[in-house]
Symmetry: C2
Subunit: 441 residues, 2 copies
């Protein structure tokens, strides 16, 4: 309902605030299981039994396979290739293409990545991208599906094993995916696609090419899958826990070469969270990121296009601000001497008086007690300034002290002299004879 | 002459400014050779022939020796040991003990270092320390005896070969050395000491112990000396030319591990110039500085004491300030968007009008033209904000943008809206009905 106050000048209708019905606590409304406490009676309902079964049975089947099946060299090599293929499906396809739209891809490349992603058995493109967009939009909050604040194991695998409350996961816009026929088809037939790509294809390839059906199933199928799983899970766990934060430390994402190594380049995660629609995760050419290289190679032959890079200027602005933050924290930990506004005020006469019993030096209007100072310029010169205004001597008259000396000086402050910047000759009475008016013209 | 205006309150006599005789240009006053132009007739008088002869004949004699003398393994090993011994005499003794008083040493250690320094044939302690103190006090100026601004070769060796104008070298306080009997003795008999330690001792050692008088002279004597010379000369040349400046870049001194490697640790020269009376040059334990380790070991057995270290707090203050400088320069090179005070002012109606033909978004009172922006949150959301005040949406209403997004936003600024921070509802006329007085209570 819009307010009818038509305004010809601005030609716009302004909606009035609709009447929101007051929310009331309804004790009879059905509660999601995660809103209920864990009890002996309901604890089994807290789990996502499909995920639990899959994620535990794959490693078990894999171990059984390793113990009972000889490993052929050819199968080993194929397993590695298939590992990279399925890993790329997730990193280059699911993640950078569909979840982040960081570049555009021609149909054959989309098929290739979707096939790899299916072989990785990590859910449909739509399911994966929806959660991942929520992860970026609500990082480290309760709406983040793999919120690392709930610990390593939760972010790594717990979030799949424990049944999720759909109302808790942050909402994101996936209209682009819902209107993409290929993505919708992938979502509908995912379970068949995945079973076929993850287990059937590797068995058949190893079987028909060198007669190792069983090895193909166990090594290139199951074991390879377990590796791919935990490698990609590491992006949600490790990459939010270990490493540096050169671009932005307001979220938990971190850069670490080990995570990058394990995840085909996704470990430069601090950069990625700061600039999520950059097709690169490793910014500079030498930062390990094979996914970025594959996408770039595809762009050379026209399979990929419109590769998105964040402007260098913006990236550097992020780094400057982050380094400034780190520097400010460091600065705050150091002793910069009592601030001038906190120091007591001392009469010049008082300064002269106290100088007789302790080593006081007046520099820049501030009285310093240099007890214990080992002067690099010699104790003689230092002693010559006791009870005097050594401003000129300190600032170049005798020696133009370095920045380090000025810093050190500030830690010896004890008082501000009344009026400041007093010159001996002035205070001594000689100054009183100078006609004041002259100073003003 | 002091002014007699005795002031009982302050009990000090204040000297009046003495009458300084006016300086006149005296064309008959004898000029130092370096104040005269180089001519064919006087060019030979520009050189320091003693230094020139020594510094050129040592390498020549060395090469002659290498070509005519077989090298015994024992002599080689002894040459290396003697190299370290004479190098330490300069770094641990001449430099850190006498020139910088960075620690105190018992008599046997002073003898040891003086002997090594003599074997290095680099002048007496007094001569060396005087020039070195001037180097620190007037670094990079005309008063600096080895001013690197005159080029690599001048700082390396030229300053010794060309006769120096004593009036040009900066004055320093060496009263502590002039009153030190050992230093004065070293200065008086230096030429005999040096000849004995640099050439006689190595010949005799190699001669009496394994019959290699000739090898001892040429390898452990002359060749070793040439190496020590150029290694220490590198502190004045290389260490002021290559490397980083983490502590202070207001002078030319630099840290470089290669210079450190060549000079028994003196290559962390940026630190050394910032904190010259620290007995360490390589600050952290893993920074290569064998001289510091020797001094520290001597302190364990009581040969060295009162080891001076600059307070960690002051060192870090220097680093913070230096990093701040580097950061500020970096920041200044980046585009932070047109500053608000330079932007033109646009009426809100004008903003609405122009929005019909180009993609304008009003955020935080500033109009942005987002032509060409690839929005990571999707083009749909972006488009929904065209011609609107999207402040609330941008700042959390729809999505709380990261720091990087705020930075990017600033580069799209085109105008400030009259009054700023306008809210649609207000401008549309609905706002006009709100009684203004209510706002003030
Ligand atoms: C009152 C507190 C003072 C402090 C904390 C202080 C500190 C320092 C420090 C840290 C240095 C070595 C770093 C550098 O080269 O700048 C230095 C050197 C020097 N200071 Fe001071 N100073 C003080 C007072 C003075 C005064 C009053 C004089 C002269 C009257 C003086 C004369 C010199 C000279 C000549 C050097 C150079 C030594 C050399 O490199 O040969 N200082 N001072
Ligand atoms: C007008 C200039 C805008 C610029 C320069 C801009 C820039 C950005 C950037 C750089 C990001 C990715 C980095 C980040 O996570 O913060 C982003 C994400 C996002 N923006 Fe904007 N934005 C603009 C306007 C808007 C508007 C008006 C809306 C909403 C009405 C919006 C909604 C979003 C959302 C929802 C995301 C999160 C995308 C995701 O991670 O799924 N943006 N924006
Ligand atoms: Fe993440
Ligand atoms: Fe991502
Ligand atoms: Fe130097
Ligand atoms: Fe020095």
């Amino acid at each position: 309902p819009t307010s009818g106050a038509e305004n010809t000048l601005r030609q716009r209708k302004i909606p009035t605030v609709p009447v929101v019905p007051e929310r009331r606590f309804d004790p009879k409304a059905p509660k999601h299981i995660q809103e209920q406490p864990w009890t002996l009676k309901n604890f089994w309902r807290h789990f996502n039994w499909l995920h639990l079964t899959l994620l535990f049975s794959f490693p078990c089947i894999g171990i059984y396979g390793i113990l009972t099946t000889p490993l052929h060299t050819k199968t080993l090599i194929f397993s590695f290739i298939y590992y990279v293929f399925s890993g790329l499906g997730i990193t280059g396809g699911y993640h950078r293409l569909w979840a982040h739209r960081s570049y555009k891809a021609k149909q054959p490349l989309r098929w290739f990545f979707a096939a790899g992603g299916a072989a990785a058995f990590e859910g449909s493109i739509r399911w994966w991208a929806r959660d991942h967009r929520a992860h970026h939009r609500y990082t480290d909050t309760d709406k983040d599906p793999y919120n690392v604040k709930k610990g390593f194991w939760y972010a790594h695998i717990g979030w799949m094993i424990i049944l999720q409350n759909p109302r808790r996961i942050g909402r994101t816009d996936i209209s682009d995916l819902n209107t993409d026929k290929f993505v919708v088809w992938n979502h509908r037939y995912f379970i068949y696609l995945a079973t076929f790509m993850a287990f059937v294809v590797p068995s058949l390839v190893c079987g028909f090419l060198w007669g190792d059906f069983r090895g193909g199933y166990f090594y290139a199928g199951v074991c390879r899958l377990v590796f791919v799983h935990h490698a990609t899970f590491c992006v949600n766990s490790l990459a939010h826990l270990i490493g540096s934060q050169p671009f932005d430390d307001t979220n938990s994402a971190r850069n670490h070469y080990i995570t990058a190594l394990v995840t085909l380049g996704e470990g430069n995660h601090n950069y990625h969270h700061a600039f999520p629609n950059d097709y690169r995760n490793g910014l500079r050419w030498y930062e390990y990121d094979p996914t970025k290289i594959i996408i770039w190679l595809c762009s050379l032959v026209g399979l990929a296009y419109d590769l998105n890079t964040f402007p260098q200027n913006e990236i550097e602005k992020g780094r400057v601000q982050q380094e400034q933050k780190v520097l400010d924290r460091w600065r705050a930990r150091l002793n910069w001497g009592t601030p001038l506004e906190v120091l007591p005020v001392m009469e010049f006469e008082e300064f002269l008086e106290q100088s007789k019993t302790r080593p006081l030096i007046l520099i820049n209007g501030v009285v310093h007690d240099v007890t214990g100072l080992q002067h690099p310029g010699g104790q003689g010169l230092l002693r010559s300034a006791f009870g005097k205004d050594a401003t000129a001597a300190f600032n170049g008259g005798v020696y133009e002290h370095t920045n380090g000396a000025h810093n050190l000086l500030s830690t010896y402050r004890i008082a501000v002299v009344r009026g400041g910047m007093e010159v001996e000759v002035w205070k001594s009475g000689a100054g009183e004879k100078i006609p004041m008016k002259d100073t003003f013209g």
